[in-house]
């Protein structure tokens, strides 16, 4: 699970109103090399919940020097875009779980795939 995906995922447990963002508890993290596409990253940024991204990266120990708030004119700032690229697309959680911030319900991640299936009682 990449952090870009994590940014989109939310808890959908019945009755939960604040299911986002999910807390990441990772037991295995991998960093891959992914081809850098500045236009792609730049267009992705406005769609993100920035603070959730920062929080997630920090939780994994991969924050490095990513700023906690978006900088101005990031579209042309390659250095910045590369940092975002790394965090969004190169850091990957292979094993662990995602925890609903409100209900505490845990969704396992195994072999890179989050299992967001709900049981009868919590859906």
């Amino acid at each position: 699970m990449k952090l870009l995906t994590h940014n989109i995922l939310t808890s959908h447990v019945k009755g939960v109103t604040k299911g986002y963002p999910l807390l990441i508890k990772a037991t295995e993290v991998r960093v891959n090399e992914v081809e850098f596409n500045p236009q792609f990253v730049s267009r992705m940024i406005p769609k993100l919940e920035w603070s959730a991204l920062v929080q997630a990266a920090e939780g994994l120990g991969h924050l490095q020097d990513l700023p906690s708030s978006l900088i101005q004119d990031y579209e042309n700032n390659e250095e910045f875009l590369r940092k975002v690229h790394r965090v969004l697309l190169e850091v990957e959680v292979i094993e662990g779980c995602l925890q609903c911030p409100e209900s505490g319900r845990e969704f396992p991640i195994s072999r890179g795939v989050p299992n967001m299936l709900l049981n009868e009682d919590d859906s």
Partner: protein, 431 residues
């Protein structure tokens, strides 16, 4: 009702896909052109979801957009992940994505597996929730009407056949690189070699494999089901057991290991489905989802069999099943008729044009299959019947227009055997 619906789906969609997943990957590489185009038309930097992505065959299209896929079938999702895609396990009725996060959503050959109208609507609503205003959704579902023929009923069970090994050699595209890379245009590789095979197919479905050549016999069969919606209507019927179990109670185990020599003993006791499945899985034809008969005169009334025409290679049989706890009396009598006639004709290998086409079919096909044991047919001897609700013309559009106010239908068409609808999410103002 909800429980019955999800149970039906569990047994006749989810668990079937889980069983057939390993075969699925090798054969189903066709990316429908319109879907491909829809993806290519997305602006760079778009985020697109493929809800019900299967083995992820659309996820490699267009490198400039971010795609994520989800499905309820673990083996298929794992397979998609190993191809380098971002995928999750989840249920289409409860998507784990925040509101308005997608620029586009795909629902290709998915909602026709939902067993009630209410669930189909919920699925569309859920996907709409995750779409941003101005974003578009593309939905493909099986059509009831085909170019040359028509399903008699809208709620059906379709058995699954593995494709014969020979077709694999021709059509199995090279697997993409392992995780870390992106699989290359599998769809294209398959497309070109597929073309000559597409000719006879009018119902090749998005998620189903290649068809046998015209020389091979085709076996087409589907089972009617009463819609769970209609069961609800009748009120008094309780949907307590799955439909396959209903069939089971009516049939006896047959001696499958004897193969062709005994022809096809029809059912008393459990195993009609099993028998049907093994019949199909051992058939050389294995026309995956080609459940239609070209030359057939469709005169199915209740449990009558359609007569086969001379030289006709395939037969459609409609069996009425019901999702109730009481076996249908007419089903029982139909089978008794069948088994009587079959016993009479068991040793007679002639082709006959009477109403036991199944027997001639089965004998012929079983005889043809002995050497083909590459597939682990043992696995498939269990029921591999998939539930489908096929859509009438305009049904999907109407469903959206009447029940999903945030979607505005832009385009509808019949693409091969599917109804395709593209709709846009609009802002709804409430005064």
């Amino acid at each position: 009702m909800e429980e019955a619906a999800s149970q039906l789906e569990r047994e006749h969609v989810h668990s079937v896909y889980e069983k057939i997943a390993p075969f699925f990957n090798d054969t189903r590489y066709k990316a429908w052109p319109k879907v491909r185009q829809f993806l290519l038309d997305q602006e760079p930097g778009s985020i697109v979801a493929d809800v019900g992505c299967g083995n992820g065959k659309y996820l490699h299209i267009n490198e400039n957009i971010f795609k994520l896929g989800c499905d309820v079938c673990r083996p298929l999702v794992d397979s998609a992940w190993s191809q380098g895609h971002e995928v999750q396990l989840c249920d289409g009725l409860r998507l784990p994505y925040r509101d308005g996060c997608f620029d586009a959503v795909l629902s290709i050959a998915v909602i026709h597996h939902m067993s009630t109208k209410e669930r189909r609507i919920r699925a569309i609503k859920e996907m709409t929730r995750t779409l941003r205003v101005g974003g578009r959704i593309m939905i493909y579902v099986w059509a009831m009407e085909q170019k040359r023929r028509k399903f008699e009923k809208q709620d059906i069970f379709v058995p699954w056949n593995p494709n014969p090994p020979s077709s694999l050699a021709l059509h199995g595209p090279a697997r993409g690189p392992q995780r870390g890379g992106r699989s290359q245009n599998e769809g294209e590789a398959a497309d070109s070699s597929d073309k000559h095979r597409k000719v006879r197919s009018t119902s090749s479905m998005v998620d189903d494999g290649d068809l046998a050549t015209s020389q091979q016999k085709s076996q087409r069969l589907w089972f009617f089901s009463r819609s769970l919606d209609s069961v609800l209507d009748f009120g008094s019927l309780s949907v307590s057991r799955s439909s396959s179990r209903e069939i089971s109670t009516l049939c006896t185990p047959s001696d499958e290991t004897n193969g062709p020599k005994v022809g096809w003993r029809c059912p008393r006791g459990k195993g009609l489905i099993r028998q049907m499945s093994s019949l199909f899985s051992s058939s050389r034809t294995s026309m995956e989802e080609d459940v239609f008969e070209t030359d057939l005169q469709e005169q199915v009334k209740n449990e009558e069999i359609i007569n086969s025409t001379e030289g006709n290679e395939a037969v459609s049989v409609g069996l009425l099943q019901d999702c109730t706890s009481v076996p249908l009396p007419d089903l029982v009598s139909y089978e008794m008729e069948q088994s009587n006639e079959m016993r009479q004709k068991e040793n007679n290998g002639e082709k006959q044009e009477d109403d036991t086409p199944k027997q001639q079919e089965s004998t012929a096909s079983l005889q043809g299959c002995e050497g083909e044991n590459e597939w682990s047919r043992e696995k498939l001897k269990d029921s591999c019947m998939r539930y489908y609700h096929v859509f009438r013309e305009g049904e999907l559009t109407q469903l959206i227009e009447n029940h999903v106010e945030e979607l505005h239908v832009l385009h509808t068409c019949l693409d091969h055997a599917n109804w395709c609808v593209i709709a846009e999410k609009v802002q709804v103002w409430r005064i």
